[in-house]
Amino acid sequence: MFIAIIALSLLALGFGLLLGYSSIRFHVEGDPIVDKIDALLPQTQCGQCGHPGCRPYAESIAAGEDEINRCPPGGEATMIALADLLGKDPVPMDDEASVEKPKATAVIDEKECIGCTLCIQACPVDAILGAAKQMHTVIMDECTGCELCLPPCPVECISMVPVKVDTGNWKWPYPDGAETNEVTEATAG
């Protein structure tokens, strides 16, 4: 267990450096605060925040026009990260964003697909492979689970399938704290 932890922290360090490097290497000129906010958003481009994509929402937050609690895929974690970044107090999640859905990816029922390409046109990250009149397939690794491809499909052959939990991606759960009589706004410190 000991060495495991060390190995993991080393890996963590490595990734940290990599991220740091990529943020320098791939830095794009622009409004830095918008970039920083955008970097915290999950990039699903799902529009559930009421904006046409992650960046527009970031712009709106930066301009002080919208709250930081509107992103359902990001959930509480993103809200807390945004609060940290902007020096704001955490706020409870927006009604529509309060239920955290399990992660899922789109799967096309390939027998049903008529090859109309409408889903390809809807997918913001080019996660769907196919050509006119041909069966379409979702590239699992690229799919962000934004669900934008669902409504355009004329034959409703796309469904969202929850990501399988295995020993590789399983996480230790949050302890069922019985010490609930504590203040929960602990981030104030």
């Binding site: 267990m1 000991f2 060495i3 495991a4 991220l19 990250v125 004329p154 034959v155």
Partner: protein, 570 residues
């Protein structure tokens, strides 16, 4: 302190911060000699018994395999192969329950044993390993599937390959075995000290350290004596058995290094950064087998202990043997058994079932009674007493990390060096409020990892999105370029007509052409570009219409293609 067998002045030992004196409960299981466990009917061999990439199966269902045969190969640098622990037939390759805190299943190769225990043909044993090239030795260690056997399960081949810039000054052998109940390393050192030292000699040849320190807690006098005796005849230079005071968690890598050398492994760092490498004594023994006899890692010593076991003991167990069969061989459960833990009471985890196989890193099955592993009871608020910080061997501030982990403010928790936490459980153990601190830290670490990964994924998604937007823009620009080319072509035609005599205002012609183009474009868009908005709950008839529309659309697209191409070619 003076240990006559080494004829050396006593080494100055150092102390790590905090730690706990725990009842060691080792006498339960170290009283009888280690015996080989019975050959089980089935061996379930997980493809991932190590940190890193899952091994890739080399056999199929129905194949006959021999003892020691590689049945799955390593994938990638940080990975390890797995071998058949006995001869038999592969009856299944698929998900089986494995010893994991989640209680989930993971891919395994299931072998029905034939009772012959027939070895695969092994190459000739090596007598003088020192004549072999170090790279060949490393290859043998890698092919033998050796991983850290103290519980870490990190592939050993990686640890015996320090980078060219790293100079290992001190080789540390970890025989501390600080956790209560566990005695498998104790028994190994007592019974197979020569084998352990043979492994040490190979490690010395690979790493060329200035000194080798074998740290053993002083509650294991027999092991210390046996190792010293073997050392006297073994002819290893600059190697010393160092008895250390019994204090949990002296077997933590960083803690043991601190005790033996006084050096601190840097925060977020690894020992190699300060010229030290640490291996478990069991790993050393496995290295000896791999290099000298070409035998892969297919068995290990396992402690079966706790008040919940009738006859606690150590067994030499084939990897893949079900835990239930070992408990049977230790007399079965007593009425006191309240939970089954893999590992020790401090760092182990509860098994959901005893129908899981023993893996390379499984050192102990603990069927603990309620008294041996009490449920802490309901937690109450933190009173900021600071006892957790006083006990923490990593010099952390558990109460602060807890505060932020509880609020899921992971960045702040990390600022308090969350990732230096070795999950030893000292803090939870002393907390008067019974707060499950380690659980919060495990949660916070895993969650931080997951978020780091998500961040990378969303970075990737952003790039793909940007690439898509750029592509769409480019296509649009190309389309425009095509149109203007067409326009130029038209202009030429009009110019030619003009030259033919009939004078026409070129401006007027251009406007006409533009209007025509706009109309064309509009028609085209109407035909193919706009996505239908109300396509939910389609009737069959509607569906047919869509199909037909699609067909027409495709034909129309063909036509326009030809139409647009012709003038360009002309």
């Amino acid at each position: 302190m003076h240990y006559p067998s080494t004829n050396r002045p006593a080494r100055k030992l150092h102390r790590f911060h905090g730690g706990l004196h725990l009842p060691d409960n080792k006498a339960q299981s170290n009283g009888r000699p280690v015996e080989p466990a019975a050959l089980p009917k089935q061996l379930t061999i997980p493809l991932q018994q190590h940190i890193g990439e899952v091994a890739h199966p080399l056999v199929s269902v129905g194949d006959r395999v021999l003892k020691g045969q590689m049945i799955a190969r390593a994938q990638g640098y940080i990975s390890a192969p797995v071998h058949a622990s006995s001869s038999g037939t592969v009856i299944e390759i698929g998900e089986q329950p494995v010893p994991h805190p989640s209680g989930l299943s993971s891919p395994c190769i299931v072998i029905e044993t034939d009772g012959l225990d027939e070895w695969v043909e092994l190459p000739e044993p090596v007598v003088h390993f020192a004549q072999l090239d170090p790279s060949e030795l490393r290859e043998r260690i890698r092919n033998a599937g050796i991983v850290g056997m103290g519980g870490a399960a990190f592939p050993t081949s990686v640890k015996v390959t320090p980078g060219p810039e790293t100079w290992i000054k001190t080789l540390v052998l970890n025989g501390a075995e600080c956790e209560p109940f566990i005695t498998c390393d104790d028994m190994l050192m007592r019974e197979q000290a020569d084998r352990v030292l043979a492994g040490v000699a190979i490690l010395q040849h690979l790493l060329e350290p200035e000194q080798t320190l074998i740290g053993i807690e002083d509650n294991k006098p027999e092991a210390i004596a046996a190792m010293n005796a073997a050392l006297e005849t073994g002819g290893l230079s600059n190697t010393e058995v160092v008895p250390i005071p019994t204090l949990y968690p002296s077997g933590g890598e960083k803690q043991l290094i601190r005790i033996l050398t006084g050096k601190e492994v840097p925060s977020h760092g690894i020992p190699a950064q300060i010229g030290i490498v640490c291996h478990n004594v069991g790993t050393a023994a496995a290295i000896a087998d791999a290099v000298l006899e070409n035998k892969p890692l297919i068995s290990r010593y396992v402690t079966i202990a706790g008040e919940g076991i009738k006859e606690p003991r150590n067994l030499e167990v084939l990897i893949g043997t079900p835990a239930s069969s070992l408990i049977g061989q230790a007399g079965g459960y007593t009425d006191a058994a309240s939970k089954l833990i893999l590992g020790g009471p401090m760092m182990g985890f509860t098994l959901h079932t005893d129908n899981v196989p023993i893996t390379k890193a499984a050192n102990c099955l603990l069927a603990a009674s309620e008294a041996e592993s009490p449920n802490p009871g309901p937690a109450s608020p933190c009173i900021r007493c600071g006892q957790c910080a006083a006990a923490c061997p990593a010099r952390l501030l558990p109460q602060q990390m807890y505060w932020y982990a509880k609020a899921k403010d992971l960045e702040k928790a990390q600022e308090y060096n969350l990732f230096d936490c070795i999950e030893c459980g000292c803090c939870s153990h002393v907390c008067p409020s019974h707060i499950p601190l380690v659980q919060y830290f495990r949660f916070a670490k895993m969650e931080s990892w997951a978020r780091e990964q998500e961040k990378r994924k969303s970075e990737h998604a952003r790039k793909r999105h940007e690439a898509r937007v750029a592509r769409l823009e480019r296509l649009e620009a190309e389309r425009k370029a095509r149109l203007s080319k067409k326009k130029a072509g038209l202009k030429k035609k009009t110019a030619a007509k003009k030259a033919g005599g009939e004078a026409k205002d070129p401006k007027k012609a251009a406007i006409e052409a533009a209007m025509k183009r706009a109309a064309e474009k509009k028609a085209k868009l109407a035909e193919e570009g706009v996505a239908p908005k109300n396509v939910e709950e389609l009737t069959e008839a509607q569906q047919k219409q869509i199909d037909q529309a699609d067909k027409r659309r495709a034909e129309a697209a063909e036509d326009t293609k030809q139409a647009t191409q012709e003038p360009e070619d002309a």
